[in-house]
Amino acid sequence: MGQFEGRAVACFRGGRMVFQDLSFALAPGGAALVLGPNGSGKSSLLRLLAGLLKPAAGNLIYDGRPVAADPDLHHGRIAYLGHLNAIKAVLSVRENVATWLPGGAAASTAADAALERFGLLPLAAQPARLLSAGQRRRLALARLTARGGKIWLLDEPSVGLDRESQRSLEAVVARHRAAGGLVFLASHTAIELPDAIELNLSDHRPDRLPELIW
């Protein structure tokens, strides 16, 4: 496990600078809470950390090596949960997890273990289209824990979750960190994340362009 660092990272999307000059360093077991109002670039930051977006400036460094040098290697470290749950309505709850795991029968066992953690095991054989919004989120979280990865990127993971599920989420995040994993979490609801550093994107707003300077 290595340290994950960002050095003066900037993100440019849709013809404007979203944030700039963002630096951070997370040691193994570390967590970062990504804060900022709507539209301040929290999701963009997480996609950028995943390697789905390229930084407009600055560097991401993992374990002393730039991430851009080997994007595929970096992708292998990432467990990403976006706004969308990536659930196929026609597959069963279990299949929705198992299709993302390697190995035939072993995948099914691993999927069940992950579903158990989020209380979805009783629904495992049901088609996913019957799930409620909160259950879908839990299913996406179960898949994330089953797939694993050193760096967890969670974009509003608690949307639609009941209190018990939120505690399960906090528990799996704590266990992941105890094993030396990293977590980046963007959320508007209070999620317990002890000793997390805060990345407040409103502090990294780009300077307004001097439009009327002439």
Binding site: A50, A86, K88, V90, W100
Partner: protein
């Protein structure tokens, strides 16, 4: 390799659960091809002459119908993000999805072809030749189509854009496919036509995954 096969199996399983999509493509193919005899009249010579062209053009249109969902479904529900972050390089993801697309679209069309050919009164020899050409040509249709499908992902009304983009690229496959199918009646050699179909397939086998993956990376940004 197992991740590659796993992705093909996943897509096949999804297609199996949503059988209507594949069935509709084949029905469209069969029904459109059946319209021509009604339009041009039941003259056997004319129908035999028309058959290869009709089969190829309708097969091509049927494939077009199925292209829009190829990557769009995965983009819309977020699966594409996970596929891009998976262990499989994006080029192989594209290739796996193309293989699954051919198995659920091209292959059923090939199975439906003898039925159409019989309706047009094609002799057995010609049917065999037509099917051989289809086996070599339809994979290219899926490969070329995937480029169009991936390029139009970000666009509004991408489904309308795909035919405009893809149809011109289908022309070589169409020309050599029809030529290979009717070589005997037109008194030209079959072998060169089949070789050209094979060449188009090999080139596209290389180009489509590269182009498709590049387009997907753009769409994910």
């Amino acid at each position: 390799m197992s991740a590659f096969l796993g992705l093909i199996l996943r897509d096949l399983r999804l297609a199996l659960r949503q059988r209507a999509d594949a069935v509709l493509t084949v029905l469209f193919f069969a029904l459109t091809a059946m319209l021509f005899p009604f339009a041009v009249g039941p003259e056997t010579n004319l129908l035999q002459r028309l058959a290869p062209g009709v089969v190829w053009v309708t097969a091509l249109l049927a494939v077009l119908l199925s292209l829009e969902r190829l990557f769009l479904a995965d983009l819309e529900d977020g699966s594409l993000d996970l596929l891009a972050l998976g262990t499989l390089p994006l080029e192989l993801v594209v290739l796996a999805k193309i293989v699954a697309h051919w198995l659920t679209t091209g292959l059923p069309l090939i199975f439906a072809t003898p039925v159409i050919a019989l309706l047009y009164g094609l002799p057995a020899d010609d049917i065999v030749r037509l099917i051989a050409a289809m086996c070599l040509g339809t994979p290219s249709l899926s490969l070329i189509g995937a480029i169009g499908a991936s390029l139009t992902l970000g666009a509004r009304r991408g489904g309308v854009l795909i035919p405009l983009l893809v149809l011109p690229l289908y022309v070589p496959t169409l020309i050599f496919g029809v030529a290979a199918s009717e070589a005997v009646t037109a008194e030209i050699a079959v072998r060169p036509q089949l070789l050209f179909l094979g060449a188009i397939f090999l080139v596209m086998l290389l180009v489509a995954p590269l182009a498709g993956a590049a387009a997907l990376r753009q769409a994910l940004e």
